[in-house]
């Protein structure tokens, strides 16, 4: 018990008002009002809480005027009061603080620090003589600049929220931004899209009769583009739609086909001319019934023969999505 009191003693000493009209009284009164508001019902409760806030802020303003702790040209107490004012003005409707509160916070802190320079020794406000003004000017300007930097931070966050694939491009050398949210999904949208396309491809072409497959493959590029667009529609934040191009490379391989699904990114990236992602799928015919090995001539353009008979079913197997490959894909 004694140790607790010993720890609390400096705080209690700080809070004791040396005389009647001082900042400590205001803060104590505001705390008192909050305590009273705890026991009272609406509408008095909101009024008391509001009054408590106002008194707290005015008290802290007074404190700032008396003891602005200057730290490399920034007054720490004014930043504290500025934060409280921003929270009081912007944060009371909902639990979340809107970004504008943080953007205006440095400006308001600067204004408070400037005010404390203007109000010297006594509650009357006077414009300081020209010799003092330079300091106030530089103070205000530097605070406003920090506000601009905060706004830029929110702007960048909005950009990256709209185009998540750019965030995935944030390589460690020369990274443009520090990611402070470890849980944020850092993978390029392209990976999700290609995987989804692979699933749809499997759904469309797996265990289907072979002629259907070959029919499908005649229009491979349009079908794949359509698949890509369908996959993108399932995603939120669809501003990236315009920047992804889809293509497919179809090569024949004994006895089926190799499909390379390609998604290429046209937007801002750290690679010089964009990058693309590949997903390889194989479509193989499987014999449904054991029949004599057919020797029917193939109808494919290549010279090799396929041994798929019309009764074969397709089997689709897809591999994982590749790492980003620089440049645009070469189309066959």
């Amino acid at each position: 018990m004694k140790q607790l009191l010993a720890i609390l003693e400096p705080i209690i000493k700080l809070l004791q008002p040396p005389r009647f009209s001082s900042w400590q009284t205001l803060i104590l009164v505001s705390i008192f009002l909050w305590l009273v508001a705890f026991f009272v019902r609406n509408p008095w409760q909101t009024r008391l809480i509001g009054l408590g806030w106002i008194l707290l802020i005015v008290g802290l303003l007074w404190l700032t005027a008396e003891k602005p702790l200057w730290f490399y040209g920034f007054s720490l107490t004014s930043w504290l009061v500025g934060a409280l004012i921003c929270v009081a003005i912007f944060g009371r409707q909902s639990a979340q603080i809107p970004p504008i509160a943080m953007v205006l916070w440095p400006t308001i802190s600067g204004a408070i620090a400037a005010l404390t320079e203007l109000v010297k020794a006594g509650p009357k406000v006077e414009i300081p003589p020209p010799t003092q003004r330079q300091k106030v000017v530089i103070l205000m300007l530097s605070h406003i600049l920090i506000s601009c930097w905060f706004q830029f931070m929110f702007l960048t966050n909005n950009w990256l929220r709209d185009y998540p694939s750019i965030l995935a491009d944030n390589r460690s050398q020369g990274a443009f931004a520090i990611n402070i949210d470890r849980q944020k999904d850092c993978t390029s949208r392209g990976i999700t899209i290609l995987n989804s396309m692979g699933t749809r491809l499997t759904a469309e072409l797996d265990k289907k009769p072979w002629p259907t497959v070959e029919q499908w493959l005649l229009n491979a590029s349009e079908k794949v583009t359509a698949l890509g667009k369908q996959a993108m529609q399932k995603l939120p934040d669809r501003k990236e739609e315009a920047l992804w191009n889809f293509a497919v490379n179809v090569t024949s391989r004994e006895p089926g086909y190799n499909l390379q699904l390609l998604a290429s990114w046209q937007g801002p990236s750290s690679y010089l001319s964009g990058y693309h992602l590949k997903k390889s799928c194989q479509i193989l015919p499987t014999q449904r019934l054991p029949i004599a090995p057919s020797s029917s001539p193939s109808q494919s353009k290549t010279a090799t023969t396929s041994v798929a008979s019309p009764s074969a079913l397709s089997q689709v197997k897809c591999g994982p999505v590749s790492q980003p490959i620089s440049g645009q894909p070469k189309s066959t």
Binding site: P130, Q134, L141, L145, Q151, F152, N157, N170, G267, P268
Partner: protein
């Protein structure tokens, strides 16, 4: 309010450029306007902060109005320090970039002159030292000559022009070097 990235590189780069510009401009203002080093440093700080803030405000306003393609160019430059569709060979011949650079320079010059007049109004003092303050120990013939013949306004403007020209050329060269090294 949910922030997941901090664009530190852009902010640190701008801080660096500000410091360079302030250093260069304060020494040029000191030489041209015959004001003390401390005053010229304070003027340079105020003017450069003012023009940077106005630049940011214009940027925020403009980027909300831009069509998507230009916005993507912006993003590409700010985040990755490169411009889509311009490789390092065409880069130096790109007319658009030169135009933007010249426009930028003129705009910043106008903003800084405005800034200086505003500052003078606020501080109620003249940026050009009058004859009796600092020049008494300088060589009498050269300084009195220029300060008497060229009126104050013109001297201020030329001083700011010179200061701007030097500092922005340096910054422009640094940026070009940066782009060229990154792209090649």
């Amino acid at each position: 309010m949910f922030v997941s990235v901090l664009p530190l590189r852009a902010v640190v780069l701008q801080g660096l450029f500000l410091v360079i510009a302030i250093a260069i401009e304060s020494s040029i203002l000191h030489k041209k306007l015959r004001i003390s080093r401390k005053t010229s440093a304070e003027y340079a700080i105020s003017i450069n902060l003012f023009s940077t803030i106005v630049g940011w405000l214009i940027f925020f306003f403009a980027q909300s109005l831009l069509p998507e393609r230009l916005k993507l160019q912006f993003m590409n430059y700010i985040l990755f320090n490169r411009l889509i569709g311009i490789d390092s060979n065409q880069f130096f011949l790109s007319l658009d970039l030169m135009l933007i650079g010249a426009l930028n320079f003129i705009l910043i010059f106008a903003i800084e002159i405005t800034g200086l007049s505003l500052l003078e109004k606020i501080l109620q003092e003249q940026a050009v030292a009058s004859n009796n303050s600092l020049q008494s120990h300088d060589s009498p013939t050269r300084d009195n000559f220029s300060s008497k013949l060229i009126p104050g306004e013109l001297r201020k403007s030329t001083a700011i022009l010179a200061a701007n020209a030097v500092s922005y050329s340096l910054i422009f060269i640094l940026l070009l070097l940066n782009l060229w090294l990154k792209n090649s």
